[in-house]
């Protein structure tokens, strides 16, 4: 299990990340200049979390507390992955290396690391995260630059790419799992209420997302507990 084994494993992830983060760059270019959008990707390496963060930044009523709570709930699943990954790593994968490489814990990198037969060492994990990191950062860079130079009609069209990807992530499990379908339906119903019911429309975007997601997930966790061994390994792009 070497560095180059890791790099090979990370190649398909990196290519996929480039496409998703290109869309993030386009979306971000409406609010921020391309260096600032790119810097978000370089420091976060998370798709849903970054996008929610962008929406909170764009919202005049957004606050830092809201940013912290939204980021916490959206990215909480990484803690779960980090816990299970911590029992999969080799003994010499020490605390200092873990602090350095913790950023690499994303849905896809985690899934590939957990799929290995042997224990995961630090060099392999570093190799595994190199191309996804480069793909994620450079995709955002390209998207951010394109968002600034392309005509509005084209960026408008490209602006829905990220939503299209979200749809592609959410719809297939809805088709196969009734509980997921119900969870998504509840989240969407609540989200529509926050937009269109006058008494609720004062709630800021970030809090609305938190409340919709947490409520819908709590209800479905209560009604339909999942019995999978590893949970939340593959949804989402990053």
């Amino acid at each position: 299990m070497t560095f180059s084994d890791g790099v090979k494993g990370g190649l398909p992830i990196g290519l996929g990340y480039f496409a998703v983060s290109f869309s993030f760059g386009i979306a971000g270019s409406k609010l921020l200049s391309w260096p600032l959008v790119t810097f978000i990707s370089m420091t976060n390496l998370t798709s849903a979390g970054q996008f929610a963060g962008l929406q909170i930044m764009a919202d005049a009523a957004g606050t830092f507390i809201e940013m912290a709570i939204a980021t916490f709930f959206i990215n909480l699943r990484y803690s779960l992955m980090a816990i299970s990954l911590s029992q999969k790593v080799a003994p010499n994968f020490g605390t200092f290396k873990r602090l350095l490489l913790a950023t690499g814990i994303t849905d896809e990198i985690y899934a590939v690391a957990m799929g290995q037969k042997s224990k995961v060492n630090a060099l392999y994990f570093l190799g595994l995260m190199v191309l996804p990191y480069i793909g994620w950062s450079s995709g955002t860079l390209c998207g951010g630059v394109c968002g600034e130079i392309l005509p509005p009609m084209v960026t408008n069209a490209l602006g829905v790419a990220l939503y299209g990807m979200f749809v592609a992530i959410v719809v297939p499990p809805m088709k196969h799992s009734r509980p997921t379908f119900i969870a998504v339906a509840i989240a969407i119903a609540l989200s529509l209420m926050f937009k269109y019911v006058p008494a609720l429309s004062g709630v800021s975007v970030g809090f609305a997302i938190i409340i919709c997601a947490v409520l819908a997930s709590l209800v479905c966790a209560f009604l339909f507990p999942v019995h999978d061994k590893h949970v939340a390994t593959k949804p989402e792009a990053s």
């Binding site: 830092f64 911590s86 749809v167 269109y196």
Partner: protein, 105 residues
Amino acid sequence: MDLKTYFLYLAVMSGVTYLLRAIPFILLKGEITSPFWKSFLAYIPYTVLSAMTVPAIFYATDNIISGVLALVTAVIASLLGRGLVVVAAIACITVLAADSAMLVM
């Protein structure tokens, strides 16, 4: 947004994300065994993504009609088993086509 606000937001966002990953990774505790909380975390990505997409996609373009159409074509393409990039491309093409059609009309 000024640069100072941007960096404060960025610090909160990346700080929380990093700590969520790093703290459990170095603490080496046992796996979460509660089916309830495991399920809660399994549903979170889907509920978050759907709450972020609807109704925001309706207002992502200049015209609510092209936004609605993009959602419809994206859902149909995913139901037909198309992957991430293809579904995204179909949503983009829908908006481009709808906006061009409205320019002509």
